[in-house]
């Protein structure tokens, strides 16, 4: 039995305990307040960027939490948010790029491990690409949940180290970009595999772009892409390269539109995405600096 002194102690402790215990309602209200403030701030910064002649000013840079130190590919959802993933564990996170709010995180069933390099969405399915060419297909899950998945092996792991995956909705096919052709020290071409849906190795084709076209007037020795995505307006391919810290825009036919260095401040760009309202999103993996997502005004 609790004596009188115990009751007094409990009564005295109760406000302190209540303060220590986080209430979901209070947290949600705080997030909503931040969301509203940040949307206003982003609109202001975008207006400034549009008015500025300097093209390379970032409009926002979100420092990711330690869980996302291995942040890699990016893909846009129909809600305007981006999905990103961990490099080593099959774990997907949803971030609102316009407010810098980490919305949720879910994992592949069984905490599957692998060298995951890219993510994309096709219809209601999400696809994760492993560097050796395995594609993991799954549905979106709730926060902190685990989702079942299936695996398709392109069997291209011996030929290519993959770094990027994007979905071309118009031609219902995946484009998979090769960072390094295995067995060759320096590649003289940019190699992209195209894999139509439904997934079948027999229908696969390639696109090869000479390195000199890709490099253009830049002082790069090559171009080692770390991610690829599709411009939702022009349907052009947009690629980033981690080693060269460069950006490449090319048509689906392989004609280079432009190749240029990324603005300063990117220590390891691993993912790229472009929104319908013309915002370029670049993700950087942590090395000496924390992982981050940076937003720019995208000029076509």
């Amino acid at each position: 039995m609790i004596g009188a002194r115990g009751l007094v102690l409990l009564a005295g402790l109760s406000p302190w305990v209540a303060a220590c215990r986080e209430t979901p309602g209070a947290k949600a209200a705080e997030v909503q307040a931040v969301e509203a403030t940040r949307k206003q701030e982003l609109a202001r910064r975008l207006a400034l960027a549009d008015a500025s002649p300097a093209k390379s000013l970032p409009v926002a840079k979100w420092i990711m939490p330690p869980e996302l130190r291995e942040i890699s590919g990016l893909t846009l959802t129909s809600r305007g948010t981006v999905l990103t993933h961990d490099d080593n564990i099959g774990r997907v996170y949803e971030v609102d790029p316009k407010t810098g709010i980490l919305l949720k995180g879910f994992s592949l069933e069984g905490g599957v491990r692998g060298d995951f390099e890219a993510i994309t969405i096709a219809g209601s399915d999400i696809y994760l690409l492993e560097s050796k060419g395995k594609i993991f297909k799954f549905k979106e899950g709730a926060d902190a949940s685990q989702v079942p998945y299936s695996v398709f092996d392109t069997r291209l792991g011996k030929e290519c180290e993959f770094e990027g995956l994007a979905y071309e909705a118009d031609s219902t096919r995946f484009v998979m970009v090769c960072k390094k052709i295995r067995g060759k020290n320096e590649t003289h071409e940019l190699l992209i595999y195209r894999l139509p849906l439904p997934l079948d190795r027999a229908t696969m084709s390639t696109l090869r772009v000479p390195s000199e076209d890709v490099i253009g007037s830049n002082k790069w020795k090559g171009f080692h892409p770390s991610d690829i995505n599709i411009d939702p307006i022009t349907k052009n391919y947009v690629l980033v390269a981690s080693r060269e810290k460069g950006l490449l825009v090319m048509t689906p036919d392989g004609n280079v539109v432009r190749s240029e260095p990324l603005p300063d401040g990117h220590h390891q760009p691993e993912g790229v995405a472009i929104t319908r309202d013309s915002i370029l999103i670049v993700s950087d993996e942590a090395n000496v600096k924390p992982p981050a997502i940076t937003l720019y005004r995208w000029r076509r």
Binding site: V17, C20, R21, E22, P24, K27, A28, E30, V31, V34, R38, E41, R45, P58, V59, A60, K61, W62, I63, M64, P65, E67, R69, D86, I89, R91, Y93, V95, G100, I101, L102, L103, K104, G105, F106, S107, D143, A144, K289, P290, A292, I293
Partner: protein
């Protein structure tokens, strides 16, 4: 500690059995952790499973590096207190997980073995140091290389008396690592499983080679050799004997042999075997075993009753066998008479078991 000990006493009804006390300790610990996890979920997840890469719970507002140019790395009283609190929590966690390991280390010693106080203190301190180092080095390759360099410069080597002590030290390092990478849940599971497996293997003397003599059998030759042929003090004091190593006892027995040869007296020993019984119910076992001994041996005497905590008690009888009833028959008879009451029975016999005198007298124990 007296409070904890008192609570454990209440839960175990003052039992001295290590398994019960361990279970009670872990139950208390689980309750404390559950309460802490309810009131401080973030702090607990920070030290219990962070290293496992947990999925973030609910929305998280990210830092804006443009409005705060320090790119999210903030340094102030808040962050300092946060780091200090995490450090204190992981060190406390390592301590509460390693404490029962030291208790098991001190309790589950081989028969007659003494624990090493230095090892006990090392077991307590080592995980704290390892946790501190790993917490500092975490995620920093540069720091890890620096640490390797520093440790390489410090040479420490020691020889442990018992190879099992090394396993405890390894466990201590594992707990320290788990605490350091903020995955105390892993450390807790490893520590709990280790403790119970060790207690059980100790309790049932797991791993004894059935083809080899038992640990006590190595004493049969010295026991027999040291038996005085005069009939007085037939079996030497057992405590004195067991305080020696078998090698030393053998050397002592050789000396006795030489003395005996010199004196020239040859007389049969009064007893020629030692019967070792283990039981959970001493009174019943004693009654039933002695009934069998009355019936099947020439003479016997109860030499010693050893009451163990956490494992069966032991009865030692000095026995003189009849020629007509060999060792195996006697053991079968004891099992038949007292099978329910005893856990095991073993008989160590010497050469003097070959008795032809047909002596009928018996000493009642």
């Amino acid at each position: 500690m007296p409070v904890l000990s008192g609570v454990i006493d209440v839960l175990t009804m003052k039992s001295d059995r290590p398994v019960r006390r361990l279970v009670a300790y872990y139950v208390i610990l689980a309750i404390i952790v559950a309460i802490a996890a309810f009131f401080f979920p973030n702090e607990m997840s920070r030290i219990a499973a962070k290293g496992l890469g947990d999925v973030p719970e609910g929305p998280t507002v990210l830092n804006d590096a443009l409005s705060s140019p320090n790119t999210g790395v903030t340094f102030g009283l808040g962050s300092l207190l946060g780091v200090a609190l995490t450090t204190v929590l992981i060190l406390l966690g390592a301590l509460v997980l390693i404490l029962p390991v030291t208790w098991v280390y001190m309790s589950a010693r081989p028969s007659g073995g003494q624990h090493n106080q230095n090892v006990v203190q090392t077991l307590v301190i080592l995980p704290l140091v390892v946790a501190g180092i790993v917490f500092m080095v975490q995620n920093s390759l540069a720091l890890a290389f620096s640490l390797a360099g520093v440790v390489g410069a410090v040479r420490f080597r020691t020889t442990l008396r018992d190879s099992r002590d090394l396993v405890y030290v390894f466990l201590s390092i594992v707990v320290g690592f788990a605490a350091g990478v903020q995955s105390l849940a892993v450390g807790a599971v490893v520590s709990i499983v280790f403790n119970f497996v060790l207690i059980i293997t100790w309790r049932y003397d797991y791993g004894r080679n059935m083809l080899m003599p038992t640990a006590s059998a190595q004493w049969s030759r010295p026991l027999q050799a040291l038996a005085s042929p005069t009939g007085n003090h037939q079996i030497p004091d057992r405590d004195l004997m067991l305080s020696l190593t078998p090698e030393k006892a053998n050397a002592l027995a050789d000396r006795f042999d030489r003395v005996r040869d010199t004196i020239g007296k040859k007389k049969k020993a009064r007893y020629n075997s030692v019967l070792h019984i283990t039981t959970d119910d001493v009174a019943e076992a004693q009654q039933k075993v002695e009934q069998a001994l009355d019936r099947m041996t020439k003479r016997w005497a109860l030499d010693e009753l050893v009451t163990n905590v956490g494992k069966p008690s032991e009865l030692f009888y000095l026995v003189r066998l009849r020629k007509s009833i060999p060792r195996d028959t006697l053991l079968a008879g004891i099992h038949a008479n007292a099978g329910d009451a005893i856990a095991s029975a073993d008989l160590e016999t010497g050469e003097l078991a070959e008795d032809k005198s047909g002596d009928k007298d018996k000493d009642k124990g």
